[in-house]
């Protein structure tokens, strides 16, 4: 009896506390800078090209084999505009398979890949899982538009 009253007292007290939930799709919680969504590639503003040289390090280290990298000779290197001999040609990441372990970021020697730390990196639901395979343009677009300051590095 007393315990039941205690329970009911507890719930009555809680009634006057502030609700802790938020209206999610319209209100977004602030996410920390380190937040790890999905990997994206980073754009080198200075040379106007991606940092990525297509060295396959991340592809090899990926535990789930979600990446496909194709390397090419850098045309800008031939023109003398860049110091990168090789540059990324094609890059696919299957977001449907990626397990966001940050290993690709850790093994990258050029800081060319980073984890998206914006809400755009989380709200990625698609109607077709094929749409979750991101190509080079999509991977670079956020960094190009300076929408993201990639968070976590190691």
């Amino acid at each position: 009896m007393l315990g039941i009253l205690k329970s009911m007292g507890m719930t009555a007290r809680a009634c006057f506390r502030k609700p802790v939930t938020i209206e999610y799709p319209t209100v977004h919680r602030e996410i920390p800078n380190r937040d790890r969504a999905f990997p994206i590639l980073i754009w080198d503003e200075e040379h106007d090209e991606p940092f990525c040289t297509g060295c396959h390090a991340c592809e090899r280290a990926c535990p789930v084999e979600c990446m496909t990298v194709v390397m090419q000779d850098n045309p800008k290197f031939a023109a003398g505009e860049s110091k990168r001999r090789k540059i990324i040609d094609e890059f696919w990441i299957d977001y449907g398979r990626c397990m966001r372990c940050n290993i690709c970021v850790e093994v990258c020697n050029f800081e060319a890949i980073g984890m998206n730390n914006t809400w755009a990196g989380h709200e990625l639901s698609r109607y077709d899982r094929g749409d979750l395979v991101m190509d080079l343009d999509m991977l670079l677009s956020q960094s190009k538009k300076k929408m993201v300051d990639p968070g976590l590095r190691a």
Binding site: M1, L2, G3, I4, S7, M8, M10, T11, A12, A14, C15, R17, K18, P19, V20, T21, I22, E23
Partner: protein, 379 residues
């Protein structure tokens, strides 16, 4: 004790008026139930520190509309192996009695669809019908969960019907009337809760059980029988079950408000106009509703055997004690205050008995081992 006569306040007893009353009542009740679902979700959300529905309309006020639309538009399924007659009719077997109960309730002095001289008896009788519907639904669904739920519902509803009726008999003994209007008018000076605290406690617990709400929601227990009798129902049929359960909540809240809290009569008397009377009735009804919601959000569910023993070993004996005490007072023509004393003592005894019997038995507390383990010389 004086017995107040029952000046029945009739509408013009024309069948058309009655029919209009019934239609209006059904519509109003449907809206009221929609509001109740919204209200319940909001209240429980606040208790749980959530926001509750917020997205349809301002503060989610249109949420019940959206729910209704969704439920009505949903595909109505019937399992292939279900018994079609029992499955389909079960809905009505539960739905109709709940609405039938509404016509005998005096909302104000004049607002009553069908004034019956036996309205209290009628109300209890009608509300006791619904267990047939639960059995039909449980049997007709051809699902083991539904069958279990139906059996539990039947056992529970019948068991708790008895203390409910016995508590009502105590009231009837004092007021010497089974007409609700008369009972309300009897409480002109003092609401019956004062004279019958024990009966009130019994009524309150038994009504929660009749409503199958926590902690007595055993027939529909989500975590055990996964919805019980409703497991195979969907769409409009399921929503009718829900509608019924909320209508029942209103019925019992109104009944409690009228019988124990003085309804529209106490404390302002009969002459304040129907607006105030209605407001008064609704205010008293909402006390019960808030209590039901609050209990729902606070308490876990009893087990079947505990539920049954609570009805048969606690509530029914105490209800009989109440009747006996009332009989003593009436036979020896003791003053009214004797009712309060005896029933109050009975209520105290009930509370003490429950306290004693359900008290968490003192057990050896956990032993806190700080160091003995390390002393076991682990390599």
């Amino acid at each position: 004790m004086t017995v107040l006569g029952a000046p029945l306040v009739n509408l013009n007893q024309h069948w058309l008026t009655t029919l209009l009353g019934i239609v209006a009542l059904t519509l109003v009740m449907t809206l009221a139930v929609m509001f109740a679902t919204y209200y319940e979700r909001k209240v429980i959300a606040r208790i749980q520190q959530r926001l509750g529905p917020m997205r349809t309309g301002a503060y989610g006020i249109m949420q019940p509309m959206a729910d209704t639309l969704k439920l009505v538009a949903k595909e109505d399924l019937r399992p292939a192996t279900a018994d079609p007659v029992a499955f389909e009719l079960a809905v009505f077997a539960i739905f109709i009695p709940a609405f039938l109960a509404l016509i005998a309730i005096p909302y104000t002095q004049d607002w009553i669809v069908s004034p019956l001289p036996l309205s209290l008896l009628y109300l209890l009788a009608v509300s006791g019908l619904s267990f047939i519907g639960f059995l039909m639904a449980g049997w007709g669904s051809d699902s083991k969960y539904a069958l279990l739920g139906g059996m539990r519902a039947a056992a529970q509803l019948i068991s708790y019907e008895i203390p409910l009726i016995l508590a009502a008999i105590g009231i009837v003994m004092i007021t010497r009337s089974v007409d609700l209007s008369a009972i309300v008018i009897f409480q002109h000076k003092v609401p019956l809760i004062v004279w019958q605290p024990l009966g009130f406690l019994i009524f309150l617990t038994a009504s929660i059980a009749e409503l199958e709400r926590q902690p007595f929601d055993i027939p529909t227990g989500e975590s055990e029988v996964a919805g019980g009798v409703f497991i195979e129902y969907s769409g409009i049929r399921w929503s009718m079950f829900q509608l019924t359960s909320y209508v029942n909540m209103y019925v019992f809240s109104l009944l409690g408000a009228l019988v124990f809290l003085g309804g529209w009569e106490w404390p302002f008397g009969r002459d304040v106009g129907w607006g105030y009377q209605l407001l008064l009735t609704l205010a008293k009804m909402s006390i019960f509703i808030v209590f039901y919601l609050w209990v729902r959000a606070s308490l876990p569910r009893l087990r079947v055997d505990q539920l049954m023993s609570y009805a048969w070993k606690v509530l029914i004996p105490f209800a009989l004690v109440q009747i006996f005490l009332n009989g003593l007072v009436l036979v020896y023509d003791l003053p009214d205050v004797a009712l309060l004393i005896t029933s109050g003592a009975g209520a105290a005894a009930l509370v003490y008995f429950i306290y004693r019997s359900v008290r968490v038995k003192p057990r050896r507390p956990l032993e806190m081992v700080a160091n003995s383990v390390a002393a076991r010389s682990v390599v």
